[in-house]
Amino acid sequence: MSKLIAFAAIQGGYKVVSQAEGELDKMLKSYDASTKVEFPNTGYFLPVIYSLTGMKVETLEDMKAPLEFARKLLPPHVKGKHHLPFLGPLLDAGMAAILAYELKEGMRLVKEPDFYYPEEDPDIENGKIWLGPADDIVLRKRGVEFVDGSAPGFAAIVGAAPSPEIAKQIVEDYQRRNLYIFCAAQHRGTSVIDQLLEAGVQIGWNTRIVPFGPDISSAVFALGFANRAAMAFGGLQPGDYKRILKYNKDRIFAFVNALGDIGTEWGVAAAGCVNWGFPTLADTDIPEILPTGICTYEHVVANVPHDEIVQRSVEVRGLKVTVSDIDIPCAFGPAYEGERVRGKDLYGQMGGGKTQCTELVKMADMKEIEDGKVEVVGSDVGDMKEGDTLPLGIYVQIAGREFQPDFEPILERQIHHLINYIQGVMHIGQRDISWIRVSKAAVEKGFTLKDIGVVLHAKMHQDFGKVLDKVQVTLYTGKKDVDKLTERARDEYKQRDERVENMRDEDVDTYYSCTLCQSFAPNHVCSVSPERTGLCGAYNWMDCKASFEINPTGPNQPIKKGETIDPRLGQWKGVNEFVKQASRGAVDSYNFYSIVHDPMTTCGCCECIAAVLPTCNGVMTVGREYTGDTPCGMKFTTLAGVMGGGAKSPGFVGHSKFNVTQRKFIRGDGPPDMETGGILRLVWMPKGLKEELKERIDARGEELGYPNLYEMIADETVGTSEEEIMDYLKEKGHPALDMESIVG
């Protein structure tokens, strides 16, 4: 009986749009029409409105046009008998309400600028539960997880479960499936978020449980997030609503769970979501819409029991998720990666300056080790009292016919997130500066150090089974053993670093592609060489090589460099051919080492974006954490908007942080001497990024004969315009000023 839904939802549409109109009228009486309206730190204005209509809402006055647009979308009411077709009108009414909801949220931020707490985690002590719209930093950081599949989609939950226990059970079930859980609205005065807090569940972006807001209008933030992903990663243009919504249907695996009685306002919101291809599953007895088409499968499914809603939801959305079943007493999965173990929850810890904590992965002979053997040498958690510390050495031995020493650091890097995946256990750092914090909750459930070994054995087999046959884990907790391991490990680290550091692009005849993010940015293809790591910062050449060997048909494919077309700019025939084919013809060539001439494309998830500063005859670069203005006149988020989606834009290039200090960094735009680095063009970067890279900048400067290079690079404390930093560069005698003109 879709008619009942259509009838109710269209009524809801009128109600929601009228409310927004009334509210705006009222506001225009007490506020100036030019009053600024914005969601914090985004380059996408009110993102749903901007993405679908191209209208930029920057002031209260600007709200009139989209509101009028929403009003025009409202269809006639559905008649009881001999009605006219209503599916199209229903979806239009839904869209009208979504637009009105976004405007309402915009107005709320004008009236109550502090209503939301725009951080990754809420401030529960001070009652700041609701986080509001995610800013672009969160979008890009979390967006990468959607891109690489570590988060397969999101569940938008509105309302409240019948009890906190049920809320917890549903949400944790989603967490186990690695989904994000976006929460909004209340039912009978309570919300899922209230219930989760009551049940002691940690909420926030870090545990993938996002408290958007207390009203149904706050659910629009989930759609704003999805549409920004389409623009940022899919390269779609604002106003291109057809493709943006299709992108969502095909690539953003999201759906709605409506917990509680569905009134007209929820109903119209659900109808709105169908425009995105996001179906609604409800725990109440509402009319169902089962035929497919706008959504991939069913549109509205009702009366779903709470213990089935998670499984049903992913099925209805057509999503395949795997739950890693690992035999430890705690829950396990990426959703717990960002979970914190705070002071009051802490039971005991290893490392973090209190004791030594070291990790080492080493290749072993097949005969030497026993697969699945996990040994704790020394005392375990059970021997600890609350507040105790222990030294810890995690020694992982791996054997396999296909295994190579080159894979050791790659597997070692897994330890960080794999331990973090354990609910109630937190891992910080790596190598010999690791730090593990174990919560009381984990200990109550029966967590022991042995579980770390169980996790590492199981997950390494799962993810790298192709190259390894045996994994043995030894956990040392005696100081002597740990110190011994640490000493050996440090020696290993040094050798590895030197090997990677000394590797040159010229030394290899094969680069690797990375099309991991093609699920989101279908025209983009990354090429990774030893001296140009992946621009997302996540993959270097070694990683790609290993990834290819582990999964020969996967996203990392070898690219034979072939004939060199331009050694200075970094262009090879083989690479061009590959890029043309892999980008489906969108890009036919690019240069590895240039920002000015045919630079490499970006999917939108690059760590940094460099831009040419013509007046300074140099370049600047900015990381996504920096939200301020930059000398090129654009903030990171604007730059990323221009660049994302696989577009080639001369004058701009995406790169990883690490790449800044790699020898080939924009070498083609540096001094003609091929060995001299392009880093000498670098005239500005945000202070935070500069500090993060200080050690490596110093080393690189030294190598190039500019030991004080670090000092010469301006940052926002010097200025955020070319004019402002020019004097500083002159004063410091920055080498870029004396080079040939960067624009040629």
Partner: protein
Amino acid sequence: MAEEKDKSAKAPKVADPVNATTDMATREMIIRSQKMGIETIFDRAETMKPCNIGLQGTCCKNCAMGPCRLPLPKGGIEGEDTRKGLCGATANTIAARNFLRMIAAGAAAHSDHGRTVAEVFLAAARKETEDYKIKDTVKLLNVAEAMGVATKVEVDGETKDRDLDEVALELAELALGEWGKMEGTLINLKRAPQPLYERWEKLGVLPRNIDREIVDIMHRTHMGVDQDYKNLMLQGTRAALADGWGGSMIATDLQDILFGSPSPLQSEANLGIMKEDHVNIIVHGHEPVLSEMIVAASQSKEMLDYAKEKGAKGIQLGGICCTANEILQRHGIPPAGTFLQQELAIITGACEAMVVDVQCVFQNLANVAKCFHTKLITTHPMAKMEQDNVLHIQFDEHYAMEDAKRIVKMAIDNFSNRGADVMIPRQKATQIAGFGVESIQYHLGGTFRGDYYTLNDNIINGRIRGIAGVVGCNNARTRHNEGHIEIVKELIKNDVIVLTTGCNGIACAMEGLLTPEAAGVYCGPGLAEVCETVGIPPVLHLGSCVDNSRILLAATEVVKAGGLGSDLKDLPAAGSAPEWMSEKAISIGQYFVASGVYTVFGATFPTTGAPVFEKHLFEDMAKMYGGRWDYEPDPILHARKMIAHIDAKRKELGIDKARERVLMDMTDRQKLDAV
């Protein structure tokens, strides 16, 4: 009147109302006509039997040495077929020539309709008329783009929207050129799916211009010209394509631009729409150029006031045949009946005026009108009647409103002349009509997601088994509406969604099949569920017979939306004309066949006397065009043949088995094509 009743009692042979029609209102009116001694087509169908040789398509009267009659013996012919006309023409040649002349007449009728519209459109574009203006500018731009008229201009290096009047004028001239251009082929053919166009090109059947293909037929079928049925049919195809993708398509497109593209609306159907206390005006025929003006005039305050002044409560307008469909689709004016009910509308005694233009108008209307106060008004210069009670008011598009008001006023003035014996049947059914290529797309997902893919998806998942176009006339040789209704019901029962036009649309409306509620009553569970979701009837009314071009374009949209092959012939779809009678139906059938559609005719088939030629139509054409003709008078078998074809196509597409739910993981997503 009393005298007439006596006469009817003595009438020798009259129709049995129950055998004549399935429709109650029609039965009531047949009984009434017989009581009043007024003869109708139903009675004449009893007294006059069709010529058996003509029926077989094997009577040749193309020269004065004939008519040569080549009937097929009852038991058929074993061995060599030695039948010949005086000149030696075989049964195949004769049947093919007759078939071609039917196509020529049909294509001429539709295309002349299109020409009239194009001329009015040109007058509107030139601003020579006050009464016609461009109503649908979105469609203007869409059609302009589809036909290659620039809609953007470059001004000082900047691309700007071109002036709409300029676009309209260029489009009007271009469209009119299609009838007589000297070079090239018809522009709209390119709107067909690419493989279909290429097939036409390969076969050499791309029509050159509309008029020429019709003239070509008249020449070719003259005594002693083309005497190869295969070669004849290539020309038949050219003329038919010039109708479907030419004259008819231009008619539909330009009518939408001038009068607005249809969007779903509620109306009613059947004789019961006439109102005793209103001035009843029935418009009948085909072209909306006149009826649009009559609609406007009858809704004007001036005329409504005048009607009240004359003692009527208002003006009730109703339609018959495709004129009915045109004003139904755009204004919700209810059809008073199908082709076979035209006389009956007058027999109600409540029809003040019947205004007719071209095609499907019985000459007997004049005889019936004589028995009542009804004014029968012909309006088209090419369509007059010999009887002296018929008024001719020639309609001139330059004075359109003036003419229309004159006609409406005449009807109002006639109200007081109405006799006492009035009987309007109570039967009328509600209908939802007003579907078109654009409005279907909208309703399949709204402003933002409207897309034929929604339909395709439900065909792929099997909720909808396939698509049928069921169209065409009534034929007094078969029970009125029975074929229409039984076939459509059998189709929707088997989850086949039906697109309808012409008198089939009116018949379905009268039966209540054009309501969303019909889905729950008559449809299979899959189709019912889809109808319920979208809120549509299981039978979608697309308009008049020139609007069969909408079916071509809708099917093309289905192909474009993806998942169901790359050509019209790949679609799980079939066409049908259950009760056809007009030569236009043969032209329509041939352009559907040549466009790749399996097309079944009911009632009768005009080639049964020439089995070899018939085989060419029923079998060979499948290999040439992907579509073919078929004939099946039994409605249920007729529908099942269509369903069998749909099932075969489903199998070819690999969608004959239940679709599995595909759960996507990251690897699957990476394989997705770019948006």
